[in-house]
Symmetry: C2
């Protein structure tokens, strides 16, 4: 059976080639596989279990705020997509078109949904009549398709999984409050559950979602200094309502247009985890979404009592955490590296001498720290270690971001900061003119990511033209 | 505000027009809405919540048997679909074809998955190498598309939601056992959770899934005497494995083909619930999947103490059942008919006099029976009522099926049974020849549904040709 023994997996180091390191982890931690469908990926059980944990946490958060799940068709007739002009202009170039059903040519082309505002609006027009029908707080978990030219697993693929919230409100104020509330939900989920620090901000005019009045986003900085837009929340005003003729009778018996939002996050969040927390030994998973939170590895498992004890510990932990006991006949070395590759937050080792001493060893994935703990307090010790991992990886990501955040007053300072310290977040003032926004990108390579909601006023002049500044802007090269 | 008061909804009676009664319920119980996408439906929050409850129960069952969830691309390249010849012949006529991405024509057409055997097989070929990689027990929750000509909500639509299990095993025996195990899971789910009696059987050769060696199904009889195929489980042998060149090295170091299964159930199950349990007042939901299991309706809610008590009861019940308190200002009459339409299994009424007497009234949806119960034992009383609903609607559906099951020895007996008693299940013997199967359908209108696993041998001659019979067959007109 020797030829069948599994080999320790190796991956490219992140300093050598970050992009290759990333795809190595995607493949070797068994998150994805490629298929013959170009630009689409297979999400394997370990990757999908991460997504299921994300879904479960977010779905609960959304429902607690009164949102209900629905399911819309995956196809959008061309004429429906065209109803809101900014929207169609933004999406038409990147949709997949269905032209035939069986052997028959369709009388009207259907696109596979790139997002579902148009379908929701058509439905809202049917079901909203009175102020009593508002608000409508809907969400949908589904897959969407955008025909991207260059693709990377999780970060940019032609098909991806996401949730899209779509809500309708009686007033602009209510809709704006919803937009911000959901942005805050995402930020909270990232900071607390994924242990990734984020900056909340508003997109500039040129970067808004097609058809939105305002687009908000959370931005995270990856280990290599590039930015990742992690989730977005849009305020639409009544633009779509007018285009789709959605009206309601208000309390004063007058006909009015409702105000709209949409907000979404995607499987790209798995990419954010990899690039925020991963290291040269593989994935490092935040405990909240780790499919396995604790892996039990018996030491000298052939010796009497070891497997029994390991099973006993598994039973004790299984009501509290997601625990796996690996009692396979793979070598200890292989197991250590396998569960490090898979980013399991806590490893529990138990062998004959530990049993004698009524202890076990807990090893935290992110820093490989070993702690001997008494079996009497195992549950508390494990929970504490999981919290240490969460706090530890957050701190590490936070420090990386702070180290790579540059406050710059001129274009030359931006260029210097990046060439000396590598990619990162640039904080710089802006006059609000699109010409300056474009010029910063052209000259320095960093594009505007957002206007942070919490403004860190670092000067009073535009970094580009030197005229009076209106906003502090966060700039970066983005995924 | 008078013009805004909600009106009591009315539906067509089932005896008058069963098909219209069905679509009335779909619309008026807020399960679905139509969209401009022909043949596709919008699943509204109340309908989707039923699906979520089904998913949650089934997903748990599947995982307990070791299955893992994955996600495959929604597109299948034409060449991949063509790899297994029976499969492509079965599905190609009814798929939707994507021919363009953005403004560019694709070099190869992609179909939107009608089912994912081909994608799973391509992936299995990549990841199965050794007997140690087997079994692979995968499942996927997703939507699929089949370009049907005539459609009806839940029963037959161009896009529908489903789960598709795909498994690979070292031996034929293991794969066959998996096929039967999953058939039994479905049957158990139907009988216990959906309260719908089913008959387990094997499809005849002409009715097998495209590419399968054997197809098993569960068949239920709807209120109108038509049959509904409720879930299927397929055994593939190694046919796909050979077509896709999936091999593994067995324990004796020989190269072998693995054996395969797939099994699925869909949103059609919601249609089965409507047509098994519904009545002229609307939907009747089995408690296991009802979004609201108990609705609390305060009587004279403006009187002192009523809403406080109603809220107190809601709090008491909310850890145990899915409970809703409707304290809106809609009339009592409207509320009664609304929650009957929505099929809420148990209604709890509480008014001033009840509070004085420390009681409340429980009304079970399926028989409108009222019971006064002491508030001291509310939790037990509610649980007992929910079980009464489950048992009661099962019994009703069972009796309907038994009443409409006809044992027939000749074609004339079949015709007579149906014309005298209406549509139903026909039990009749069959010689095994396709010509006889076709002739029964031609002459009597009923097609073969399945060869029941538990054979009720009612004769020894084929109902059609009179030659020696091989099987008892279940026949019916099907949805």
């Amino acid at each position: 059976m020797a030829q069948d023994k599994k080999m320790v997996k190796e991956i490219t180091s992140m300093d050598e080639d970050f992009a290759k390191w990333y795809t190595d982890i995607c493949k070797k931690a068994d998150l994805i596989d490629y298929s013959s469908v170009k630009g689409c990926m297979i999400i394997r059980p370990y990757g999908y279990a991460i997504w299921e944990n994300m879904q479960s946490i977010l779905d609960k958060r959304f429902k607690e705020k009164g949102h209900e799940n629905v399911y819309m068709p995956m196809f959008i007739p061309e004429s429906l997509l065209q109803k809101e002009k900014d929207h169609v202009a933004g999406f038409a170039p990147e949709v997949a078109w269905v032209t035939h059903g069986g052997s028959e040519r369709l009388t009207e082309r259907l696109c596979v949904r790139p997002t579902s505002e148009t379908l929701f609006c058509e439905h809202f027009a049917n079901i909203i009549h009175s102020y009593r029908d508002l608000p409508k707080l809907y969400n949908q978990w589904c897959s969407v398709v955008r025909w991207e030219k260059t693709t990377r697993p999780f970060l940019r693929s032609r098909e991806f999984l996401w949730q899209e919230g779509h809500t309708m409100h009686a007033t602009a104020e209510e809709a704006e409050a919803e937009t911000v509330q959901q942005l805050n939900e995402y930020a909270d989920f990232f900071e607390n559950d994924l242990a990734i620090p984020v900056i909340k901000g508003r997109k500039t005019e040129s970067d808004k979602f097609a058809g939105a009045e305002a687009t908000y986003a959370i931005e995270a900085l990856m280990h290599d200094g590039k930015a990742l837009q992690a989730a977005t929340s849009h305020y639409f005003g009544d633009g779509f309502a007018k285009a789709f003729n959605i009206t309601y009778t208000d309390r004063d018996n007058k006909v009015a247009y409702p105000h709209q939002t949409s907000w979404g996050c995607t499987t790209r969040m798995i990419g954010a985890i990899i690039m925020s927390h991963g290291d040269d030994n593989g994935l490092v998973l935040p405990p909240a979404v780790a499919p396995i939170q604790v892996v039990i590895l018996p030491v000298a498992q052939h010796k009497e009592g070891v497997l029994e004890k390991a099973n006993e510990l598994k039973d004790r932990l299984s009501g509290i955490v997601r625990v796996k006991l690996d009692d396979s006949d793979n070598s200890a070395g292989w197991k250590f590296s396998e569960y490090e590759m898979k980013g399991v937050p806590v490893r529990l080792e138990i062998g004959p001498r530990d049993i004698e001493n009524n202890v076990c060893v807990l090893v935290t994935r992110h820093n490989r720290e070993k702690t001997v703990v008494s079996l009497d307090n195992l549950e508390q010790a494990v929970m504490q270690k999981l919290e240490e991992v969460r706090a530890g990886i957050y701190q590490k990501a936070y420090e990386n971001r702070e180290k790579r955040t540059y406050k710059c007053l001129t274009l030359d300072e931006i260029k210097a900061a990046i060439s000396e310290n590598g990619d990162g977040f640039v904080k710089a003032m802006w006059c609000g003119e699109e010409a300056c926004e474009d010029k910063v990108k052209e000259e320095t390579g960093v594009g505007s990511r957002c206007i942070p909601l919490v403004q860190d006023v670092i000067g009073d002049k535009c970094v580009c033209c030197g005229k009076e500044a209106k906003h502090e802007v966060l700039w970066a090269i983005a995924y």
